[in-house]
């Protein structure tokens, strides 16, 4: 049973300040850190890893103060976004690296077991430059676990992988997390990864904790504009954005239905209707094909609305870029948003 805690943790890098961050991680617990680019997600991981000295606060493991302990004595598995595989070492040389550091006589059986577990045995002697994206990720994970870590730090796992490799690796990671129970902090832009690996979300905004809560919040809890965008709502409109424009019929209509933080509408909830039906008239600006239809970016009264067009039997003509369309929003599927103050 391992427990990590960060209290009031702050650090500075190139004029950017992270923190204060307060977080507790117990065995089996996993936190997904999300936020826009440059809000300090990687800085947080590097501070926890001991690669950046904190300017304030404490890092503890089972009550032991690790704030000033160098990275090599923290027992961590840190996987940076670049994976940082050693180019002058083979696959086995990479996975065995932490074993060589832990003992003067590393156990070949331990290395073999790790290579087998991540289906790398047949690649043991291969240079890392000759691996596929998925294989590289597996080497990075195996190498991190070889360090016998008491905390896993993971920066953007599965990024730059094709969908098939992503899903098989996500399954593998989920398995590792369940089996090992090693607490995990994972930085991600991907709601699927956050949902698959983490039980809590930490939203960072300008270096500060904007929100901490269970990942289930994304499905059934209150959403802020940031969380709504994160899980993929195509139309997210903050309440502040509506006020200056409320003169238009569309904005007045949206404002009436908005929560304190605005509202989110998926493209699926916005459909095309014929001229006789009530709706908002706009002009198609852009079309993007989707598995179940076409997403249309439609300009309506100075605002861009994303709608989903599904050609049904008998209605096979696609709208063209520049053509006028009439949109209708399914009111029941509008999600009212919580304010961003104190949350993301």
């Amino acid at each position: 049973m391992t427990s990590w805690s960060l209290s009031g943790l702050s650090s500075r890098v190139d004029g950017f300040t992270l923190g204060p961050i307060d977080l507790r991680l117990d065995t089996g617990g996993a936190v997904a850190v999300i936020g826009r680019s440059g809000v300090g997600k990687t800085t947080l991981l590097r501070t926890i890893a001991g690669l950046l000295p904190p300017t304030a606060g404490r890092i503890e493991r089972d009550g032991e103060d690790l704030t000033r302990v160098p990275p090599e004595r923290r027992r961590l598995g840190y996987i940076p976004q670049s994976l940082a595989l050693f180019p002058h070492r083979s696959v086995a040389g990479n996975v065995g690296y932490p074993l060589e550091r832990r003992t003067t006589a590393p156990d070949p059986a331990e290395l073999r077991a790790l290579l087998d577990r991540f289906s790398l045995a047949h690649l043991a002697g291969r240079p890392t430059s000759r691996l596929s994206g998925g294989e590289r990720q597996r080497v990075a994970i195996a190498r991190a676990l070889a360090a016998a870590p008491s905390l896993l730090l993971w920066d953007e796992p599965l990024s730059a992988l094709d969908p098939t490799a992503r899903s098989s690796l996500a399954e593998l990671l989920g398995g590792v997390q369940r089996d090992e129970g090693i607490p995990l902090v994972v930085v991600t832009h991907d709601p699927e990864v956050a949902f698959a690996l983490a039980d809590r979300l930490l939203v960072l905004d300008a270096g500060r904790m904007a929100f901490v809560g269970p990942t289930t919040q994304l499905v059934d809890g209150e959403l802020t504009a940031f969380l709504a965008r994160f899980i993929g709502y195509e139309n997210v409109i903050g309440r502040d954005e509506l006020r200056p424009h409320a003169a238009t019929a569309l904005d007045a209509w949206l404002l009436e239905r908005a929560g304190p933080g605005g509202l989110a509408i998926s493209a699926e909830a916005v459909g095309l209707v014929d001229d006789a039906s009530p709706g908002f008239v706009g002009r198609v600006r852009q079309l993007s094909p989707r598995p179940d239809g076409v997403d249309l970016r439609v300009e309506v009264e100075g605002r861009t609305v994303v709608a989903r067009y599904r050609p049904l039997a008998g209605a096979v003509t696609y709208p063209r870029s520049g053509s006028p369309v009439r949109l209708q929003v399914d009111e029941k599927r509008i999600r009212r948003l919580a304010p961003s103050v104190g949350a993301a």
């Binding site: 598995g77 670049s82 070492r89 040389g93 690296y97």
Partner: protein, 287 residues
């Protein structure tokens, strides 16, 4: 009718052809003069050059002095290259420009500068004289000139070599249990070693080919301290002497031997470096 070749493919073919022509021209530029020299002397005269005691002494002395100069250049150059690669500080571009200064200065002037520096009238020179350390026409002067003219190559090659080591790799190694010294030994050095060896080879080549500065400070080298060998000259100066006394027939055989020896050393160092990497990889911990 065959489909028309796209313009970009044609462009890349022309580019490739131009690169091949450039490479062949470069090869010719380097090799043809050397071949002209090497094939100038009859084979028998090469044996005569090898038997020339004075030439042998000069070559042995040059190998010793250049070895010391390379060691000094690497000792000073590798840590400096590391700092230049890893640290940003005010005035860094000035330091980088200073590092290349020895390449810019005519090497005759390097000799002149050292003569001035070690003159008993200067503060430095007077201290050296008072300490009883001889300088001019000793191995010290030869090593000083050789180090001066070659150190830029060691610094610059090391700097470039260290710059190729991604800092992410070092951070990853730290989190995987390596201390800073271990990270340097197991990650930085193995990745940078090829560039450092290149710097050493360039520095050595530059040392043995130096003439101008050595003509000024060590035309004749007298034994001193632990270097109790015969009275000799640096090989480059010896060859210059052969040329001024005996013309081309007098100098060409010894020059041929010297070039072949230098080339053999270059190749050997490269092979050793490659062998070292293979041996190092074999030592990797494998299941």
């Amino acid at each position: 009718m065959a489909p028309a070749r796209p313009a970009s493919a044609l462009g890349s073919r022309i580019g490739r052809a131009a690169a091949v022509v450039a490479a062949i021209s470069l090869g010719a530029l380097i090799v043809v003069p050397v071949l002209a020299l090497v094939t100038y002397s009859p084979f028998g005269s090469l044996a005569g050059a090898v038997q020339d005691r004075g030439f042998r002494d000069a070559v042995v002395f040059t190998l010793e002095a250049s070895g010391l100069a390379v060691a000094a250049a690497l000792l000073l150059g590798v840590p400096s290259g590391y700092l230049l690669a890893r640290r940003n500080f005010r005035g860094k571009s000035i330091v980088e420009a200073l590092v290349t200064l020895p390449i810019l200065i005519p090497h005759l002037l390097v000799g002149v500068a050292l003569v001035v520096l070690f003159d008993r009238e200067t503060l430095f020179g007077s201290v050296v004289v008072r300490l009883g350390i001889p300088f001019l026409n000793t191995i010290y002067a030869v090593v000083a000139v050789m180090t001066y003219v070659s150190v830029s190559y060691a610094v610059t090659a090391s700097q470039l070599a260290f710059q190729t080591v991604d800092p992410d790799l070092l951070e990853a190694s730290r989190t995987l249990g390596a201390s800073p010294a271990t990270a340097f030994r197991t990650i930085t050095l193995p990745i940078a070693v090829r560039g450092i060896v290149t710097g050493g080879v360039l520095a050595w080549g530059r040392s043995v080919s130096e003439v101008g500065g050595l003509l000024i400070v060590a035309y004749t080298v007298y034994p001193v301290g632990p270097w109790a060998g015969p009275i000799t000259s640096p090989a480059s100066v010896y060859l210059y002497n052969l040329y001024t006394i005996g013309g081309l027939p007098g100098a060409a055989p010894a020059a041929t031997i010297f070039i072949l020896l230098g080339f053999a050393i270059f190749v050997t160092v490269r092979l050793l470096e490659r062998l070292g990497r293979v041996v190092w990889r074999r030592q990797e911990f494998l299941p």
